[in-house]
């Protein structure tokens, strides 16, 4: 926590420098995300003609290039952007809430709950759908909510600040417990289903249409609206709950909002794309290494950088061995891990 002093110094240094720094940083990160999202759909495992893809005179159902562009690539890039932004932001918020640099969106057990839901749906061939949500995403969302409710109930007492250590321990324990249940279900299931569940656990952004993204969007929007309220309080909270309280932060409320928003974002992201690892821990730290520790900058910058990072990783996943693909979770870990270590060593 050596950075805490400088955080306060920077936070109290007045509005002008932070405002201009915020503008410049966000412009840079925003541009990076935008350029990545605009370029990514132009590349893929097959070469398509863009003029044909945008040719309105050919009926959409007959236009392979348009279908590849609008049904396969665009939703995939959009899913990558949304999921990347959500996981990275949730990572930032949870690292501040738990005051633990190792916290990830999956620390709270939400992703293990989602995984259990998905695996039950896959193993038992669930058929329930809700709007644009097909059975597996729906079941994983239910699992994520159940896990979030359990952890929240364990860590809160009415009218008192959340116990972050209970939150952390409950999350970790729930993760192990759900993992055991997952193994148990897998062990009982047919091998083919077991394989499919393991594949789900590696993450997949090839959602094949805007429907699944629309299904996840309400939760994402809610999460990001809450994220927008948090940065200043998180700056103080990451120094310590007592200090935050003396400086006028409603600690209990901030903690609740932080938990709620990161649980919503993680649930939506995991139900859409599976538990894609590393984005939620690597991106926040990378951004902190590059842009400092002020959450007013780190949080939005991480969202943009997370979007760009995941879209880029998925681009690698879908093209490098085409027509065969690498699960994107493997790419995020293989690219993100060494890069992060390199940055760490260089900084150290």
């Amino acid at each position: 926590m050596t950075s805490s002093g400088s955080t306060i110094a920077r936070v109290s240094a007045g509005p002008r420098p932070i405002r201009s720094r915020l503008a410049v940083t966000l412009l840079a990160y925003g541009a990076l995300a935008l350029v990545t999202c605009l370029l990514a759909p132009l590349v893929g495992s097959t070469s398509i003609s863009l003029s044909r893809a945008f040719d309105r005179s050919i009926p959409f159902a007959d236009n392979v290039d348009a279908q590849i562009f609008f049904v396969a690539r665009m939703p995939r890039v959009l899913a990558g952007a949304v999921v990347g932004a959500a996981l990275a932001s949730a990572g930032v918020v949870l690292q501040a809430l738990l005051r633990n640099p190792l916290a990830t969106p999956f620390t709270l057990g939400v992703s293990a709950g989602a995984a259990l839901g998905a695996i039950l749906a896959i193993s038992f061939g669930a058929a329930v759908t809700l709007g644009p949500l097909s059975p597996v995403p729906l079941a994983s969302l239910a699992g994520a909510f159940a896990a979030a409710v359990i952890v929240y109930a364990l860590a809160t007492r009415p009218g008192r600040a959340m116990s972050t250590s209970v939150l952390l321990l409950a999350g970790v324990t729930l993760n192990s417990f759900f993992s055991a249940l997952i193994l148990f279900v897998q062990y009982l299931a047919d091998f083919a289903e077991t394989y499919r569940t393991v594949r789900w656990l590696m993450g997949d952004l090839d959602v094949g249409g805007f429907g699944p993204i629309l299904g996840a969007l309400p939760l994402m929007v809610a999460a990001f609206l809450i994220f927008a309220l948090l940065p200043s309080s998180l700056n103080l909270l990451s120094v310590g709950a007592d200090i935050a309280a003396t400086r006028g932060v409603d600690v209990a409320r901030t903690q609740r909002l932080a938990f709620l928003s990161s649980a919503l974002a993680t649930s939506a992201a995991v139900s859409l794309a599976g538990p894609i690892g590393f984005v939620g821990i690597v991106v926040p730290h990378l951004v902190r290494l590059m842009a400092g520790v002020d959450h007013r900058i780190v949080l939005p910058a991480s969202a943009f950088f997370g979007a760009a990072f995941l879209v880029a990783c998925d681009l690698v996943a879908r093209t490098i061995l085409a027509p065969v693909e690498i699960p994107v979770g493997i790419v995020t870990a293989m690219l993100g891990g060494p890069f992060f270590l390199w940055l760490l060593v260089r900084k150290g």
Binding site: R196, G209, P323
Partner: protein
Amino acid sequence: MAACKKRLILLAVLLAVTGGLKASGYHAVHDARVAAGHHAVLEAPVAGDLQVSGGAGLQISGNDRAPVTRIISLVPALTEMLFAIGAGPQVIAVSSYDDFPPEVKALPRVGALLDPDVERILTLRPGLVLTYGSQSGLEVQLARAGIRTFSYRHGGVAGALQTLRDLGAATGHAADGDRKAREIQAQLDAVQARVRAYPRPRTLLVFGRQPQSLQQMYVSGGAGFLHDILQIAGGANVFADVRQESVQPSHETVLARAPDVIVEVRTRQLGAADVSRERGVWAALASIPAVRNGRIHFLDGDYLVIPGPRVGLAAEAVARALHPEAFK
């Protein structure tokens, strides 16, 4: 127990990791149901007992000319073969995945690929245990106990027929094994002859995906049993160029390959409502000729994915879907 679990996780992860790059979805189906294949090897625990020839055939000599009377099969495809060649009465136990032929339902279960119950197997005092090639630990254990194993790995249709012969030789039913293999070959030839005159439709053979979604689809690549069946049935596999048993294509790749026919094989039977719902999912990829022309077929039954004695039936079912005009 913990070690076993660890191995299970390791295997699952290993399968999973290779899955994106290699062939494992299909392996999984086969490892599970466990399929038949080329590399059948009879392993003799006691040197001199047996002479195992390399290459295609399998010769048994010496003391082991006498038929083995107590056989345990850990591989459903091999169990089916045993019953098909008249060795059914010698089978004393089967794997937990076995459910064909109906006679196996009364037999004791001794685990399967990942969880063979070694104690149970030893208690049953088998003369021969049919194992899968990846069960090397089990094979060593059984060898130590003086029990012979017949180790094999799945492969294509030719491999399944060869395994039938090898199994006949190993169980004292060499003539029956030969006859059954010839009979199945004749069935396959008949299917092939029937569809030969028709042009081969470009076909996507799907054997797994998420329910009500086209995500995480597993399709047959240009190697292995399902690819062979598709060839015999008069189809042209759109993923023939990927020399793997299974491919996990993205929406983009499926759109680009533009199959004329889509055949989905499932081990679990779907109701009529489910079939129409699952068929509807394909509407998202409307530019695919198979979708536009309504040529999407759902076939169910485990015989479609088990390279056993029912491969003739599997080939015919796929041929009927691809070339209904040839079966009028």
